[in-house]
Amino acid sequence: MYKHICLIFILSCCLVNTAQAHRTKVFAWVDGTSVAGEVYFGGGDRAKGANVELLVGEQLVASTNADEQGEFRFERPQPGDYQLKANAGQGHVATFVISADEFLDLSGSAAGTIETQGAEHEDEVGFKNRETCAVLNEAALVKVIQPLRNQLDQYEANIRWHDILGGIGYILGLFGLWSLMRTRRG
């Protein structure tokens, strides 16, 4: 009886926790003019206070610590290709890449405000307006897609039953193979 209770306990432990893992992940996106992101462990637990570094090439640009929710933010970095490196301690390191084209192209509208002071042609102003509209549209789109990207990233980090069962199968199979080799040799 005692044996069975223990077995049930161990099995239920496995059932409850299959969605949780021990993999560190960092995920980031361009939020307006800043880079925002979060550090978490597979399964969704947040890495509180993890150190996050913003790098270009191997050069450190900025460094910050994640808050209680595992979230962080770099204000106003120059648009460009960045690597993010999160360190949650004890060798739990994760990296993420943000490419230059994720940044909104604000250069057109920013330059426009200065240029329009000189020659104020009607159609040129109209063109600038259209460009600003496009930038705003893009920003709105990014905002809508963001939760989806988040969810996808976390889904990928989850552990699924078939992985676990497959792993156990591999282990038993490998030892079986070893056993087979031994008996052939013997």
Binding site: C6, A21, H22, D45, G91, I164, G167, F175, S179
Partner: protein, 201 residues
């Protein structure tokens, strides 16, 4: 416990791979035919134990069961854990591929040490205490080895060691209690497992 790729320096990585290789060869030499099914089951047990994961402090911990495996299998801990760690790295992304050697060493060497220390005492102390000492001792040793590998790769030792030690203390107590229960169970259900382990010392 699973260190990711890109954290450790090359000499530490190479040393880890070399020592794990040596341990694995030694373990495979001691793997008798009648031990193979038992080793396979414990390997699967270790593989699954890492999925039982508890949020603790700023980090998160999971059970390891390396004390238990060291107590029951001795040097066989190396091949048993290497197989499970390779699969964990491949399937779940726990730790990196290049650091497999260091990760395996950090987990298997404490298992071997605890096993060698406690196995001679197994008839003199109660099973519950035996399991507790094996479980908690191996986790603490693993914590020390993890901080040591980080230190040798250039991280400030006192800071990481502090974090690792205090982070692992509750885990080591928990693992000790659970290992204690498992040893008691094994002692009642299949006492010959505990009696027979001396052939692998």
């Amino acid at each position: 416990m699973h260190i990711a790729d890109g954290v450790l320096s090359t000499p530490v990585l190479v040393a880890g791979i070399a020592m794990t290789l040596a341990g694995t060869i030694l373990g495979l030499k001691k793997l008798d035919d009648d031990k193979i099914p038992f080793a396979a089951v414990l390997s699967a047990c270790f593989f699954v134990a890492s999925l039982i994961h508890l949020p603790l402090g700023p980090s998160s911990v999971h059970l390891i069961f390396n004390g238990l495996i060291g107590l029951l299998l001795g040097w066989l801990a190396f091949p048993v854990m290497l197989v499970a760690l390779i699969l964990q790295a491949m399937f779940f992304g726990f730790g990196g591929i290049v650091v497999l050697g260091v990760n395996c060493l950090n987990i298997a060497l404490p298992a071997v040490m605890v096993g060698a220390l406690l196995r001679p005492m197994r008839h003199h102390i109660p099973a519950q205490l035996l399991g507790f000492l094996a479980g908690s001792g191996a986790v603490l040793l693993t914590g020390i080895m993890v901080s040591l590998s980080l230190y040798l790769s250039g991280e400030a030792f006192s800071k990481t060691a502090n974090v690792v030690f205090w982070g692992n203390l509750p885990l080591s107590l928990l693992e000790g209690v659970i290992s204690g229960f498992i040893i008691v169970l094994i002692n009642q259900v299949k006492p010959e497992i505990l009696k027979g382990v001396h052939s692998n010392v």
